[in-house]
C-alpha cells in the first residue's frame, strides 16, 4: 500500500496513468509561470502548480491534470487555469476516452484576483463542454490540502468524484468560515470536526462523492478505471432529468439537516446507527454501513 495523499502532483501522474504513457503539455522547461506573482515579487513555479497532458489509462487515451497542493495550496491563477482549460478543450478536439482530474486546491489564487476567478469559471465551463461532447470527467480528491472554493464547485461538475476518507471537499474552508463567522460558528483547529464536515466519509454519506477508497494509489487508480469504464456505457452529458434529480437530493438534504449543526446528527437522520462510531470505522466496514443509508441521486430511470 502506498499513500496517494503524500505524493506530489508529479508523482501522482505516473502512479495513476499507465506506466510511461503520459505526455505533458507546457512542461516546466517552457517556463510559463504566473506574471501576477512576479509583479508582486512573490515566488513562482515553472509549471504554475499544475501538470496537464495526455496519457493512457487502462490502455485508453485519457487527458488529465494534477494540481500541486504544495505550491500556494494548489490555488488557481490565470496560467494554472488556462493550462487546465487548454487541456480540456484539446480533450474534446482529439476525442479523448475520458478526462481524469487529480484535484488539490484551495480555490482561486487570491493574489490574482479577477484573473483567478475568471480562470476557475472557465475551468467549470470547459469541464461541462467536455461532458457535452460525450466524454466522461472523473475527479479525484485525496490530497492533504483538500479541494475547496471554486475548485470544490469544479469537482462537482465532474461525472464522478472519487475520494479517500482523508480527502476533503467543500466550498468555504474551515479557516475561512472561522474568520468570517467566528470560532463559535466553526472551530477550524478542531481537526475531528473539520473531517466530519468536509472529509470523504461525510461527502460519501451525503452523496457528494460517488466512490470512497482507502488512501492508496492502487485503489485510486482502480477506482478511476472502474469509473471511466462505467461512465462510457451511459449518459455523461448534463440532462434536465439529471439536474432535477440532483436538485431533489439537495432539497432532501435541507430537510434532513434542518436545525442540525453537527454532522453526526445528520448521519443519524439518514438512519446511520451509532453515528459517533463512523469516524473510527475502517473503509470496508464503513462502505458496508453506508450502502444502506447514504443519500444518492435517484434519476428515476
Amino acid at each position: 500500500m502506498s499513500s496517494y495523499q503524500e505524493l506530489t502532483a508529479r508523482q501522482r501522474i505516473p502512479a495513476m496513468f499507465d506506466a510511461g504513457s503520459f505526455e505533458e503539455f507546457l512542461p516546466p522547461s517552457e517556463r510559463v509561470a504566473s506574471p501576477h506573482l512576479a509583479q508582486l515579487d512573490a515566488p513562482v513555479s515553472f509549471d504554475d502548480g499544475v501538470v496537464v497532458g495526455r496519457g493512457k489509462l487502462h490502455g485508453k487515451v485519457v487527458f488529465g491534470a494534477a494540481q500541486e497542493g504544495g505550491f500556494m495550496g494548489g490555488a488557481v491563477g490565470e496560467v494554472h487555469g488556462a493550462k487546465l482549460v487548454g487541456m480540456l478543450r484539446r480533450a474534446i478536439d482529439e476525442g479523448a476516452h475520458a478526462v481524469l482530474l487529480l484535484l488539490e486546491s484551495g480555490g482561486v489564487r487570491l493574489h490574482e484576483a479577477n484573473a483567478g476567478l475568471i480562470a476557475v469559471s472557465e475551468v467549470m465551463r470547459a469541464m461541462l463542454d467536455v461532458r457535452a461532447a460525450g466524454i466522461p470527467v472523473v475527479a479525484v480528491v485525496g490530497g492533504s490540502n483538500g479541494c475547496f472554493g471554486g475548485m470544490g464547485i469544479a469537482a462537482r461538475c465532474a461525472n464522478t468524484v472519487i475520494m479517500s476518507e482523508e480527502g476533503r471537499l467543500a466550498m468555504s474552508g474551515p479557516e475561512v468560515i472561522e474568520t468570517a463567522n467566528g470560532v463559535e460558528e466553526f472551530d477550524s483547529r478542531d481537526r475531528a470536526l473539520v473531517w466530519r464536515t468536509t472529509g470523504g466519509k461525510h461527502r460519501y454519506l451525503l452523496g457528494d462523492c460517488q466512490v470512497l477508497v482507502e488512501d492508496d494509489t492502487a485503489a485510486f487508480r482502480a477506482a478511476a478505471i472502474d469509473a471511466m469504464l462505467a461512465l462510457r456505457g451511459g449518459e455523461v452529458r448534463l440532462t434536465l432529468a439529471g439536474l432535477l434529480a440532483e436538485q431533489a437530493l439537495l432539497e432532501r438534504r435541507l430537510v434532513d439537516a434542518d436545525g442540525l449543526t453537527e454532522p453526526m446528527d445528520v448521519w443519524g437522520k439518514l438512519g446511520v446507527p451509532a453515528p459517533n462510531k463512523v469516524p473510527m470505522l475502517e473503509a470496508d466496514e464503513f462502505l458496508a454501513l453506508a450502502a444502506q443509508h447514504r443519500a444518492t441521486v435517484e434519476t428515476g430511470g
Binding site: 522547461s29 515566488p43 513555479s45 515553472f46
Partner: protein
Amino acid sequence: METLKYRFEQGRCSLAGMPQLVGVVGSGNLEVLIEPAPLHGACEIEVRTAAVGFGATWQAVMADFHDRWSLADARISINDMGATPAVVSLRLDQAVESLAPVPTGFPHGGTP
C-alpha cells in the same frame, strides 16, 4: 525576491535526456529544473529566492554542488521559498540523479 546567478566552467560530466523538475515551491522547499544546454562545457545556475541576503550561503552550497558533480553543458533553474542549505543540496542531487544514471561508487569529489 532576489536573483542569483552562478556559472562553473569546464565541467567533466554531461547530462542526457529530457528536462526534469524536482521539488515543490513551498515553505522551506524549492523546485529545481535541470536541463542539458550547449554552454561550452559550463554549468549555469539561476536562483530566484524569497529569502533575500543569503548570497554567501548560496555561493558555498553551489560550489559544493559543483565539487560533487562537475556538470558540463547543464542549465539549472531554481525557484526557492527559503529552503535550508541541506535541503537545497539534496534537491540538487535529486535533480542530477533524475537525469543521469549515478555512476557506480560515489560521484566526483563526494565522500561516503
